[in-house]
Symmetry: C2
Subunit: 203 residues, 2 copies
């Protein structure tokens, strides 16, 4: 994080954001597989080699925002008061981290549709999901007084993300309501162990 306000050297020919914009558009227009990295780079006016300086893989061009959410959740979980029950805190923080500006919703949905439907993108999710899960696992571990690699801590982190992914998918498929609504109700069901009365047919 060198925050030198006065840069030096050859100016960048493009930016991360620009590449993300172009990639998302081409992926939705032509499909992920049918779009080569060179297509994206050409449209941005740079070379394929430069693309891989911004993103270490073709798929990662779609994951920047998700990674930012991980940092946000981790920070929020660090400030949860002791009185708040564990699962309630997780639910509150996760839901709160998923409030998006109206102008970003279209792109968010486009990204999620791609991630949910293209096998190569589903595969690329692993490492990003892992970081998300660890953020929750480490919080759970602190609450349980166990190492973050302990069985329950990991189970909680992973089960939480798994539940959120179900909510993401439903939302991106139905496009009817607020994302946070889906997250909230799903995480509530998780916190009740998916007991029969908690999963009584809503809608």
């Amino acid at each position: 994080m060198t925050t030198d306000n006065r840069r030096r050297g050859r100016p960048p020919g493009t930016s991360r954001k620009e590449l993300q914009r172009i990639a998302l558009r081409l992926f939705t227009e032509r499909g992920f597989e049918a779009t080569t990295v060179e297509d994206i780079a050409d449209e941005a006016g740079v070379s394929k080699r430069t693309f891989f300086r911004y993103f270490n893989s073709k798929a990662n061009v779609l994951w920047s925002d998700f990674d930012a959410e991980v940092a946000e959740i981790r920070a929020a979980l660090a400030e949860v008061p002791q009185e708040e029950p564990m699962m309630a805190a997780i639910r509150r923080v996760v839901v709160s981290a998923n409030h998006y500006a109206a102008e970003d919703v279209a792109d968010l949905r486009a990204r999620m549709n791609l991630i949910g439907s293209v096998p190569a993108l589903q595969a690329s999710a692993a490492v990003h999901y892992d970081a998300w899960e660890r953020a929750v696992s480490e919080f759970a571990a602190r609450r349980l007084g166990q190492p973050s690699t302990s069985l329950f801590a990991m189970a909680i982190g992973r089960a939480t993300l798994a539940t959120c992914r179900a909510a993401y998918d439903r939302w991106s498929a139905l496009a009817d309501s607020d994302l946070t609504k889906y997250l909230d109700v799903a995480l509530l069901a998780l916190a009740s162990g998916f007991a029969p009365d908690a999963v009584a047919a809503e809608h």
Copy 2:
């Protein structure tokens, strides 16, 4: 499934099992990335092209047994009696599907260590996990009287696998006890919503 007992044509130069054996050995000896598909094929006395006729990707050579488990779980869930509560049935079936013969345990652990530590293999897991999750989601959907793509059905399928993966990882890392023990206790915690009294420090 043409179950002709009398084959015809040129005999195979190797077998799926043989390729799996060799691949697992080379991966553990040299590492996954450092082993090329041609290395595996050469050792089996076939060509690279033939390897890709047995497995559609380098990573999939490790996933056959897991896929078999999916089929087993799906079949067992189809015969769960109506009286048995949903989450209890899932726990029983999953645990029961994970009893392995003593002679297979070493390979199982080697595979899980690879899958847990190599990013490329973690990525390859997505499609296999998806099938596993759907087996559980579809059972949950029948019980809930909802489509298998409904929010709660998907959440249950995914959260169940997520919890099992935590158990897998702990077991393959510690190597101290029975895999089924880890699965059982983790799934019990899930079914209780990870409530404080259910996750009181065991071990």
